[in-house]
């Protein structure tokens, strides 16, 4: 059952006040945070003040929208006016944004309540939240495991019931991979469907904001609230936004579902493979036709990404120079030394690595061999998807090759960490929407994620398939024991 719809029902029937609901989430946060560390900032006072306003509106007999009075968590790379936005970096530890991001502005206007800002890998660069400057977020299903990343805080907060739903951002899998690791639903929308204004930029041609939620219905409600054209984001698309909940239908008659052959071979954890095979049988039983197809350049997505994303990052992160905002190192005798020391002390190891890779790939003499070649391979990857969508309405593959790995397991070898995003990255390169939802558990009791990939602006089809699968399976009803 949709958490947002249930809370809305309780509010309009006056079974619980917005203050009671918000307080219950704040109590849950207080109880589980010592174990999980999903949040970098909990905005309890502000949330209760917002809840009191909602209760006044209800008492005055006002009609409220679905998100009014619903407690949400926001990834801490989305600027919130007056509430510090750290990007989990020492560089922005005390940064209080002078403006509000478009997506959080929209949620505020819809009456939603922000309970806090969630943990992430520094500047959204990572796959486990272990690159956070303020400590990692544990997986609610097993606190010795990572929550995934970079939106690990948002995924863990949703899985542990610390919020009704959350926002994350996804550049190479940062919504879908933690959603898979924590057993929740996560959607990376079509590039340009959701405004990036106020999202701290990592790789601008790939970044998108999207929902993490306990059910497909909740994700559909939240996407409807944040999507839409924004004059403040020149890459935002001028398209009308449907009511995504209208797309949620229980049968899949006539739906063609393509299985990407390149994703089901070696390197998959056996339980991930068998969960995918079982999911295909379920989808077929719901009326879908399963088509085997090939995206021959799929595996080149990862090396392409690790040129394009660091290149864009090296330009985007040039703004952190200690002049106008953020951290400044002490004791520099001139401007150049101030830049060098500020950036050396303010950024963590992974951020520095990516800035240096990007700087190298864009530097004189290397541009054609790295950046330009990667952009050309990006074209080939897009072509593979275009051919696949001539044969299928939706593509499926595992969200990640394994379930949540142990904390510390991959931190010594950056490349092994990168490999956990093998399945999600090509989707960002092609600008397509991708959704992860729970499709089983491994023998350790850790959730497994199924990734559905849609064509450009195919969010309604994704929600349709995801909803039908969710209703036919028990996975979303299981809760972690904390």
């Amino acid at each position: 059952m949709s958490v947002i719809q249930e809370l809305h029902r309780q509010l309009v029937r006056k079974e619980r006040s917005a203050t009671e609901i918000t307080q219950a989430y704040l109590d849950r946060i207080a109880a589980v945070e010592p174990t999980l560390h999903s949040f970098l900032t909990v905005t309890g006072d502000r949330a209760l003040a917002q809840a009191a306003e909602v209760d006044q509106r209800l008492a005055a007999g006002e009609e409220i929208g679905l998100l009014t009075g619903i407690p949400l968590a926001i990834k801490d790379n989305l600027c919130t006016y007056g509430v510090r936005t750290t990007c989990a970096s020492k560089m922005l530890e005390h940064f209080v944004p002078p403006y509000e991001s478009t997506v959080t502005q929209k949620l505020q206007a819809a009456g939603a309540i922000m309970v806090g800002k969630t943990n992430l890998d520094e500047f959204a660069m990572g796959s486990s939240t272990e690159n956070s400057a303020f400590g990692f977020t544990a997986n609610p299903w097993n606190p010795e495991r990572v929550s995934g990343g970079s939106s690990g805080g948002s995924a863990a907060a949703v899985a542990a019931g610390e919020c009704a739903a959350a926002l994350g951002s996804d550049t190479g899998g940062s919504i879908r991979q933690p959603a898979a690791f924590c057993g929740v639903v996560g959607l990376k929308p079509t590039y340009g469907l959701v405004s990036r204004y106020g999202l701290v930029a990592y790789a601008s041609s790939l970044d998108q904001v999207g929902p993490l939620a306990p059910t497909v219905t909740d994700a559909a409600i939240l996407l409807g609230a944040i999507a839409g054209h924004d004059p403040k984001d020149a890459t935002s698309l001028s398209v009308s936004i449907p009511d995504y909940t209208q797309a949620l239908k229980p049968d899949l008659k006539g739906m063609r579902i393509g299985v990407i052959q390149e994703t089901v071979g070696e390197g998959l954890q056996p339980e991930v493979k068998s969960a995918l095979e079982a999911a295909l049988k379920t989808l077929e039983a719901l009326g879908a036709t399963i088509v085997e197809l090939s995206c021959p350049r799929f595996a080149y997505g990862l090396p392409t990404y690790y040129i394009i994303a660091p290149s864009e990052a090296s330009a985007n992160l040039a703004r952190y120079d200690g002049v106008n905002f953020g951290f400044r190192a002490e004791g520099a005798s001139d401007l150049l030394e101030m830049y060098m020391k500020t950036r050396a002390q303010g950024f963590g190891a992974e951020v520095k690595r990516r800035i240096m890779i990007g700087t190298y790939a864009l530097s004189a003499g290397y541009y054609d061999a790295y950046y330009l070649r990667a952009q050309k391979v990006r074209t080939l990857i897009k072509e593979d998807f275009a051919q696949a969508f001539a044969q299928a309405d939706v593509l499926v593959c595992p969200t990640a090759p394994t379930t949540a790995f142990k904390a510390g397991e991959k931190t010594a070898d950056p490349l092994s960490m990168y490999l956990s995003d093998l399945m999600t990255i090509p989707v960002n390169l092609a600008g397509l929407p991708g959704l992860s939802l729970p499709c089983g558990f491994d023998r350790e009791g850790l959730p497994i994620g199924l990734q559905l990939i849609g064509n450009v602006l195919g969010e309604e089809t994704l929600f349709h398939v995801a909803y039908a699968y969710e209703q036919a399976t028990p996975w979303h009803q299981q809760q972690p024991q904390l």
Binding site: V96, P98, Y191, G192, S205, L206, P231, A234, T235, L237, Y300, P303, T304, Y306, I307, A318, D321, V323, N324, F325, G326, F327, R328, A332, S333, D334, L335, L336, E337, M338, M340, K341, R343, A344, K352, R353, I355, M356, I357, T359, Y360, S363, Y370, L372, R373, A374, Q375, K376, V377, R378, T379, L380, P414, L415, Y418, N428, L429, A430, G431, V456
Partner: protein, 97 residues
Amino acid sequence: MATKVITAEDVRKVAHLARLAVDESEIEALTQQLDSILDYVNQLSELDVTDIPPTTRAIEVSNVTRPDVLEPWPNREDLLAIAPDREDDFFRVPKIM
């Protein structure tokens, strides 16, 4: 191990271009990490990209314009208040020359 893609000297140069002070004791480990990443991404040279146009944006939208209307920033003090160092209405920086 195969031929090095990147040398310690390259790493020092790139760090300077990126305005990152790197301690000499970090250079060896950094060189090795960057080298393994660059060695990995070099698998893209297996593909023939002759005559393939580059993709610069995921979804093609071009020539996006808007009316050039002046919008004064509503809270100027908020911008100055977050400066690491400020004097009156100015951002202070160390000696430039």
